[in-house]
């Protein structure tokens, strides 16, 4: 067996050699490589049925020669020479574009924002999380169907022919639980970079709460209603439609409905959207992006007005813009593309649950929304009538139809509390006049 994790982290000489070899063939090149380990355990109903450990590693080489960008990746860094050849060959096929150079080294803070030195990758720790979730799940009459706990850590190295040599360590913990009561399902999850920031007790309790409390719901007639979307339900609609429209590449290639909207109101007043890559203890935080550009806060929308789009180097050079440090990668072995770190929706928080409205915990099918026009129809999961801040009668089932862009103009309130959902930090939102289709209309 051969695994890179032990070897390359001790000696990175091969990266220097790779850069030297590559410099003989192309104008510029960069190396993005990393390794990660994880331990997880999964429940089948209330018993642990499997425990897993994984080791992964990856290397991505990108070359730029006369404006032609080539790339290749492999999860065997020992074969970096073949990977370099494949990257150079890939560049020969690409259409040349304006290219003003890879970034030069800059001072970077030495503290890793999303690394918990106390996190140990031990199966017993995952076992403890599962036990805690199961104990708190017993608070409500619902059966646990499945659950998992996962601990991970990773190391990244980024180097380029301009002299950058950055490293980054990160950790992650995630837990989830699913439950059922009759034909009523509930699920909850939590994730964090630091082990102390995870709340398995709440996850267990909420999963069985939603399963049991949603049972026996009644139908509602078709009509327009005021809604409260939980951060989870909101994240689904926001991430599938609205955020891709802020991607500079989509903007300049004719794939964004917001392309011509800079300087105009695109949401309700009082609403802001920004990406803050420097939040301590957030999983997404990073000092430099996947191309070695220093990250910074981007204010996309301030008080309802659209002010900025996100760029990586390639898109910025092509369209005469500046990189916003928004290049991200899907994994250790992947090409850079435009993304974000901690995408935040913000505004004045208030009590949005006092007046009677339908609370929606999550939605089914948000990925089927039309990403260009923003039109969507989704099935509601765990919808309730909510009043005076309390869950009232559950609603059996209904569809919500609308347009994600229009929906943002009808936001009338944000909750005081926000929650991390993947790379998003979101409050609950209250929206008026949303079209619900009942099942017996």
């Amino acid at each position: 067996m051969s695994c890179c994790a032990m070897r390359w982290w001790v000696a990175v000489d091969w990266i220097e050699t790779l850069l030297k070899e590559g410099a003989k063939k192309v104008d510029e090149l960069e190396v993005y490589c990393g390794n990660g380990t994880s331990v997880s355990a999964s429940l089948k109903q209330k018993k642990i049925s499997l425990a897993t450990s994984s080791k992964e590693c990856g290397l991505c080489i990108r070359t730029i020669h006369h404006g032609r960008i080539g790339a290749s990746y492999t999860n065997n860094p020992d074969q970096w020479r073949a990977c370099l050849d494949a990257a150079v060959a890939s560049g020969n096929l690409a259409t040349p574009q304006t290219w003003n150079g890879l970034p030069k080294p800059s001072p970077v803070p030495t503290i890793d924002l999303s690394f918990d030195p106390d996190l140990k990758l031990e199966p017993g720790c995952a076992q403890e999380f599962l036990k805690t979730m199961l104990e708190s799940a017993a608070a409500h009459p619902a059966e646990v169907t499945s659950g998992s706990a996962d601990l991970s850590s990773g190391n990244l190295t980024f180097a380029n022919s301009q002299g950058i040599f950055y490293t980054h360590q990160s950790t992650g913990v995630s837990v989830s639980l699913e439950a059922i009561s009759g034909q009523s399902t509930g699920s909850e999850f939590d994730h964090a970079a630091f082990i102390d920031d995870i709340d398995p007790e709440k996850v267990g309790e909420r999963a069985t709460f939603f399963a049991s409390r949603s049972a026996g719901g009644a139908d509602i007639p078709t009509g327009d209603y005021d809604l409260i979307l939980s951060p989870l339900a909101y994240a689904d609609l926001l991430s599938n439609v609205f955020v891709p429209a802020l991607n500079g590449r989509n903007v300049h290639m004719g794939r964004s409905k917001l392309a011509d909207a800079l300087g105009t109101m695109v949401t309700a007043p009082g609403l802001s959207m920004f990406d803050n890559p420097h939040i301590p203890r957030e999983e997404g935080s990073a000092w430099w992006d996947a191309e070695g550009t220093l990250t910074r806060r981007i204010d996309f929308i301030r008080d309802g007005m659209l002010e900025a789009f996100a760029y990586d180097l390639k898109t910025a050079y092509r369209f005469g813009k500046t990189s916003t440090g928004s290049a991200v990668r899907g994994g250790f072995a992947g090409l850079p593309s435009i993304g974000h770190y901690n995408f935040t929706v913000d505004g004045k928080g208030e009590n949005i649950a006092d007046e009677r409205a339908i609370y929606v915990h999550s939605v089914v099918g948000a990925h089927t929304a039309n990403p260009m026009s923003g039109d969507f129809s989704v099935e509601l999961s765990n919808p309730f009538w909510m009043e005076d801040g309390d869950f009232q009668d559950p609603i059996k089932s209904a569809m919500l139809s609308g347009n994600v862009f229009e929906l943002h103009k009808n936001i009338v309130g944000l909750s005081k509390e926000s929650r991390s959902i993947g790379s998003y930090i979101l409050p609950s939102i209250k929206i008026t006049k949303q079209h619900i289709i009942g099942k017996h209309s």
Binding site: C3, A41, K47, S53, C57, A86, S146, L335, V364, N370
Partner: protein, 449 residues
Amino acid sequence: MNIMPEPPGIRYYDLRHVNGHHTHIDIDNGIVESAGTSFFNKAVIRVLGPRGWGIVQIDNYAPGSRKEFENILNHATKLAKITEESVILGDVRHGMLLTVPVKEDCRSISIEEKSALLSEIERSAHNPLVVNRRANYTEKIEQIHFLDSSGNEYSYEMCRSGFSVMAVASRNGNIQMGHERDHSIHGFNLRHQAEKGKQAADIAVALLDAGAAKGGKMHAVLDPELAGVFAHEAVGHASEGDLIQEGNSVLKGRTGQKIANEQLTIVDDPGIHEFGFDPVDAEGVAVGRTEIIRRGVINAFLHNRETMASVGNGVPGHARAMAGEPPLVRMSNTFIETGDATDEEIFAECKKGIFLKGSRGGQVDPGRGVFQFNAEYGYLIENGECTKMIRDVSLSGEILTTLHGITLCGKTRLMNPGYCGKGGQSVPVSDGAPHVLLCDAVVGGSGLD
């Protein structure tokens, strides 16, 4: 390597090692954004300890000495110590089908030629109202090696390749898209496809004048692609043995129960030569046809070895896995069997309703028994004829009641390739059906009249 007997404390082990490479080409508005080849090597080793599974996932795996392999088994055995569930593996039939003959091997064509052919498809989407054309080619070749402690060992190669083309049309702030794709296990498929770009553009432009669907209950005719997604979402997932075992499917305990009209038979078959084909499943089990619903009655669940033993009432050979990931119970090629209605009879019987074409995907909550899926576009049906074009139509339904609404099935079945996500793994699948009539469908749309 030589298969060795299970060491102490191990009831069973298996190894699934996948080596491969991936070639892609991305052309965006005439610009070759990226094109090239990347490489991967991933393995997963599973050990069944006294109770449950210990699983080790390794990148960059190289078969080594017996001692090295024993070290991995020991590591997995230690992991298995925290398990509590007593996992039993069902007795199954092992064996592998022949792989699919390939008409033209992707490896025999240069990437320059592939890029030129893709470019033709992308250029054919040109239209004065089209503001973005994008075409992608993807080709994944995998060498799979499986062995287990019972002496089963299989090696085979799979190549999956194909393309997608998208056109975005825009007029006065209205922005719509059309999408065409084809993926295949039968070899290189980029030749003679240039018209696909034009088809995507024509749909995008036509949608600029389409109205929003009015939500509510109505009869719907589903085209073979959308009816296939219906079978996948409404029935396929809920019949997966792991969900039944966990108690997270409304189909649990309902074997023999009639949940659909007699016309309806829904099948999953990894052995047919469609995009979800596997010659052997990810646990080395022989694959074959499973009739999930036979003439309206719940007949058989999809199983792996563990759920076969635990749940029963079904057919094993449905374990599938991404490279380096543990196998899960999955669908492969899922379809509604043909019926005896002509398409004319289906539209005439519908009389007034909606005809839905293409798919933007779907999702299901199998425990609650509620599903949702979305058509690319459709037409209103009036007096049995298609009239006005409509856009952004979703359907939702309940597994235990909606299937009764399928009252007619057409005579010709078509399969469509795609990918299905579950447990963080995406695997190739195909879905298909003839045209079907779905009575009293719940349609979601934001149109008001």
